[in-house]
């Protein structure tokens, strides 16, 4: 997957440099599709592991964040001509790709460490700042509210 991301990086660099989208658009879209497929496959393998739920969660969340970023990238690329989004899409993506590489490096090995969730949160923030993270949960807010309430209980604001 790292190789695919490197390829993608090249396409974006060329898009920015040449000021053209056409020679790279089809290939970049299909590369993103491949990356998304690989991420989904790895997620399935991950969730079959017998690790503790909290350990599974760290990588699972990182994969979800990565998928959402590639979804946004894909959507913007598909609309790039109509929305005159080049070179902005290229610049935004080039800002985010180094962090994506770091994430994918962990995901590829299906190995978490103590910074995996921190990386996922940072990645989401960098992508949001570059207009490459759009999220609205499809799950009922009532369910998420319950989970949120549990998380809040675990935070002491006085220490």
């Amino acid at each position: 997957m790292l190789e695919q991301i490197n390829k993608l990086e090249n396409y974006f660099e060329n898009m920015e440099k040449d000021g053209k989208v056409d020679p790279y658009l089809k290939d970049s879209l299909s590369t993103i599709d491949q990356i998304r497929k690989n991420l989904n496959k790895l997620d399935v393998v991950l969730l079959l592991k017998k690790d503790a739920p909290n350990q599974l969660f760290e990588l699972h969340h990182l994969i979800n964040v990565n998928l959402l970023i590639f979804d946004s990238m894909h959507k913007r690329l598909k609309m790039v001509k109509e929305s005159n989004d080049n070179p902005k899409i290229a610049i935004n993506s080039l800002n985010v790709l180094p962090f994506l590489k770091e994430g994918v490096h962990n995901i590829n090995k299906l190995r978490r460490d103590e910074l995996t969730l921190d990386l996922a949160m940072s990645l989401q923030m960098v992508a949001s700042r570059n207009n490459l993270f759009h999220f609205e949960s499809s799950k009922p807010k009532k369910n998420l509210g319950k989970i949120f309430g549990g998380i809040v209980e675990g935070i002491d604001l006085t220490v």
Binding site: L47, L48, A52, P53, N54, L56, F57, E58, H60, H61, N64, V65, L68, L117, D118, A120, M121, S122, Q124, M125, S128, R129, F135, S137, K139, K141, K142, N143, L144, G145, I147, F148, G149, G150, I151, V152, G154, I155, L157, T158, V159
Partner: protein
């Protein structure tokens, strides 16, 4: 405030950044009720920053951002650790729900961070100042021990009229009853939950900013008792021993976000 100036900068401590962000998430998720008073009083400060973005009043440091994320992560992991191993589909559903919730929280954190300015710090200076902050907290404990009213009670009893010393002790004890309770509790709290390296570093960053910006009053908005007033028991008044001493030693006002908002809008 020591500095005679109108310009103010408010360092947003981790506690307030988290409180305001979770309050925002709560609204996003349909107004889930969160009981703690601190969540409600943190939001208006950020609303004020939003309306006065150009003034760049609210500031954070990289440390504060990192600690905020770490605290949220710990709370999430703690909760997920309690999930027992269930069927594959159930586990995957649970983890997805947690993932979505964490995305909402991260989004809120980012929204609030966009309303404040991240200031750079000089790491060499911060290390030195953090050590100074550590000594300051250690001295506070000594000060607290010295302030222990027992000595004053003994003195009044000793100096009382012969034959009536018992009464003098009783009256002195009566007068100092509140103090005995408060100082014991605060000392116990400081021993049980001492300021950690992060608290010392945040205070160090405030001192550093105060030194750099001589004409600007530096305030810390925090609900952490290592900086701000604290209710030691449900029936006690708010104790300001720590913020009073921070003010006296470093000229930095520390308070809850609602009081800080009053201070900057005066």
């Amino acid at each position: 405030m020591n500095k005679t100036t109108n310009e103010k900068k408010v360092i947003i401590d981790t506690s307030v950044l988290i409180a305001a962000s979770l309050n925002h998430t709560s609204n996003e998720l349909g107004g889930i009720l969160i009981q703690d008073h601190f969540y409600k009083i943190s939001k208006p400060l950020f609303s004020y920053f939003q309306k006065n973005l150009h003034k760049e009043i609210g500031v954070v440091t990289l440390d504060i951002e990192n600690i905020a994320r770490a605290k949220i992560i710990n709370a999430v992991i703690k909760k997920i650790s309690q999930l027992t191993r269930v069927s594959h589909s159930q586990l995957s559903k649970n983890l997805n729900n947690y993932s979505d919730t964490l995305m909402y929280i991260t989004n809120s954190l980012l929204k609030n961070m966009n309303l404040v300015t991240r200031i750079p710090v000089n790491e060499v200076e911060i290390k030195k100042l953090a050590l100074r902050a550590h000594h300051f907290y250690e001295e506070l404990k000594t000060k607290l021990r010295r302030k222990n009213p027992k000595k004053r009670i003994n003195k009044r009893a000793r100096e009382g009229i012969q034959g009536l010393k018992g009464y003098f002790r009783k009256f002195a004890k009566e007068d100092e009853r509140g103090n005995i309770r408060v100082y014991k509790k605060l000392l116990k709290k400081l021993n049980k939950n001492p300021p950690d390296i992060n608290d010392c570093r945040i205070l160090a960053q405030a001192i550093s900013l105060s030194k750099r910006k001589k004409r600007v009053a530096i305030l810390i908005a925090s609900t952490d008792y290592h900086f701000s007033k604290v209710k030691l028991d449900a029936d006690d008044a708010l104790n300001t021993f720590i913020p009073d001493n921070i003010m006296r030693n470093f000229g930095i006002k520390c308070d809850w976000p609602d009081s800080i908002l009053n201070e900057i809008t005066k």
